[in-house]
Structure formats: C-alpha cells, structure tokens
Subunit: 205 residues, 2 copies
C-alpha cells in the first residue's frame, strides 16, 4: 500500500494504525508548503485534495473513519475493532465520526476558516473561538466517551490513534490538555506503545 500524508494532519491516525497492524506500506509525504495537495498529480489520487489517501491493490481509499475500519478488517489478528459485535463496532464508528465531523471541524476553523468564509474579520472571529469549541468537545470526550484507559475500555481500538491525533492539536488550539485527565493519560499511554512511537517518528521526521 502507498500511504499519502502530511505531518501533523489527521493522517497521523492512519499512520499510527498502519504501524499498529504491522502493515507493509510506503509512506509518501504530500508537501502542503508547496500546495502539492492541489496539484493535478495528487488530485488524480484524491480529488478532494486532502490527506490521508491509501492506495491499495483494490483501489484508493480516503476519509479516516473508513480507512481505519478497513485496516481493522484487513488485519483481524491485530484485533483493533470489535468486528464480531455490530453494536460495539457502531460505538467505535460513532466516536470516530464525532472526531471527524465535529472535533476536527472545530479545530479546522483555526487555520482553514477560508473554507467557510471570505472576510479577514470572519477568519479572525473563527480562530478566536477555537479554544472554546475545542474545550467543549474535549469536555464531552472526557466526561461521556472515554471509558479508560483506552477509549473503548480495556481494548485498544481504532479510536485510540485518532484521539491521540486530535489531542495532539490541543496545544496549537490554546487548550490545556492537562484539564482533561483521561485524555491526558491516554496520550501518555499511547506514546508508550513502540509501534505508535515508531509511526510518530516517521510521521514527523
């Protein structure tokens, strides 16, 4: 598989998951500094001009929640999703969907407000609200969704690399991660996993 990513993007979740399932993959960095994500060569891979994209023998996949579930299904021996229990799997997908559609979107208003508004004053207004919206999301995750120590309880799942990816954004978003003790402990535990550390090192190299 070829894995297209940009450092610090949500593609980190896929990067860690690829390492955790011990997949054979080639990481390919898309240079956002040179707007490579909007060049024809990359748009032929992902017409959305975003990362991650995963090129498999069957075709190309995008969207973090879909890619993570796909990896869980392709590497069942890694046991990173409750594949045999539709309700438990739906809880996993609901958590990842919340990260994707609400938390990531809240964060994106800091640096990518131009997606949704044009005026400089609007972008500044959006950016100023990010600490409040991100803290509200993290409150909900802390109080309602993390079971501990992993997101889904005793079992490490595809929710965990995704949560680390987003909790890693909190400093940039002016949110103090230590105000969310379970999320904070989760990030520390993640970084004790050898494969996660290796993926992290490769991702930010």
């Amino acid at each position: 598989m070829k894995f297209f990513y940009s450092p610090g993007s949500c593609a980190l979740a896929t990067h860690i998951t690829l390492a955790e399932v011990n997949a054979d993959y080639e990481p390919i960095r898309v240079d956002f500094g040179n707007v490579e994500q909007s060049a024809d060569a990359y748009l032929a891979i992902n017409p959305k001009g975003r990362v991650p994209a995963l090129v498999t023998d069957a075709g190309i996949l995008t969207e973090t929640p879909a890619i993570l579930l796909y990896l869980a299904q392709c590497y069942p021996q890694a046991a990173i999703a409750p594949l045999a229990d539709p309700f438990a799997l739906a809880r996993v997908q609901a958590f990842n969907s919340y990260l994707c559609a609400t938390v990531h979107v809240a964060h994106a208003h800091g640096a990518r407000g131009h997606r949704w508004a044009n005026e400089a004053a609007s972008l500044a207004d959006m950016k100023a609200k990010v600490p409040e919206t991100m803290a509200a999301c993290l409150d909900l995750i802390e109080d309602e969704y993390i079971r501990g120590p992993w997101v889904m309880g005793d079992q490490f799942t595809i929710c965990d690399p995704y949560l680390l990816t987003i909790s890693n954004w909190l400093e940039r978003d002016d949110v103090d991660r230590s105000l969310f003790p379970k999320v904070d402990a989760h990030a520390e535990m993640m970084m004790e996993r050898p494969r996660t550390r290796a993926a992290w090192a490769e991702h930010f190299a």
Copy 2:
C-alpha cells in the same frame, strides 16, 4: 428501537434506512423550535444535543454513518451494504464520512454559523458562502463519486438515503439541483421507492 429525529435534519437518512430495512421502531420527534435538544431529558439520551439518536436494546447510538452501518449489519437480508467486502464497505463508509464531515458541515454554516464564530458579520459571511461551498461538494459527488444509478452503482446502499437527505437541502442552500444531473436523477429515483416515500411522509408530517 426508539428513534429520535427532527424534521429536515440529517436524521432523515436514518429514518429512511429504518423504513428500508423494515425495522420495528418508534419515531420520536425532538422539538428544535422549543430547543428540546438541549433540555436535560434529551441530553440524557444524547449528550451532544443533536439528532439522530437510536435507542436499541444494547444501548444508544448516535452519528449517522455509524447508525447506518449498524442497521445494515442488523438487517443483513436487506442487503444495503457490501458487508462481506472490506474494500467496497470502506468506499461506502468513505462516501458517508464525506457527507457527514464535509458536505453537512458546509451546509451547517448557513444556519448554524454560531457554532464556530460569534459576530453577526461573520455569520452573514459564512451564510453567503454556502451556495459556493455546497456547489463545490456537489460537483465532486457528481463527477467523482456517484456511479449511477445508485451511489455505489447497481446496488442500493446506505449511501443513498444519506445523499437524498443532503440533496434535499440544496434548494434551501440556493443551489440548483438540476445542475447535477446524476444527483437530480438519484433524488427522483429515491422518491419512487415505497418505503422511502413512507418514511419521508412520516418524517415531515
């Protein structure tokens, strides 16, 4: 199952899917006019204060992409997702994730801009950009993602009720659906399905 919804919200996708799989469910309307979604009684069901929420014997589920996959798994005889093919299933989930995290979010900037900014001028700026962002999303869906006649080709899937839900918003978003012939034909075909029509009638009653 108890199904919490609000008319015209993204919960329409779940409403149609419940009908298409012939599920036994009780529809419960959450009165957004009276901000019932933020009242304690509803927050006990969904702490996010959003719809849809599906109360099952196993527990409560939220987030459209997760609920639709759950229904596909619970009603395999309805054959509304390629459950035996991880790659094909990932394509389904990627499409629904795009609707959830990009297209729905673009639409939400029309009436729910207060989620991401405070000033009246910012909200007006966001609202004014919605026709452009939604048209860009629909261009991508029309050109890259709908295979036709259904989203995934010959097989009706959980992508179809979700696409109808969103293409139904286009008029409100000042986007001319007829500029997207495949999306337009898709909406017409959906409304020829008796169970979809019945769910639609119940939803908007």
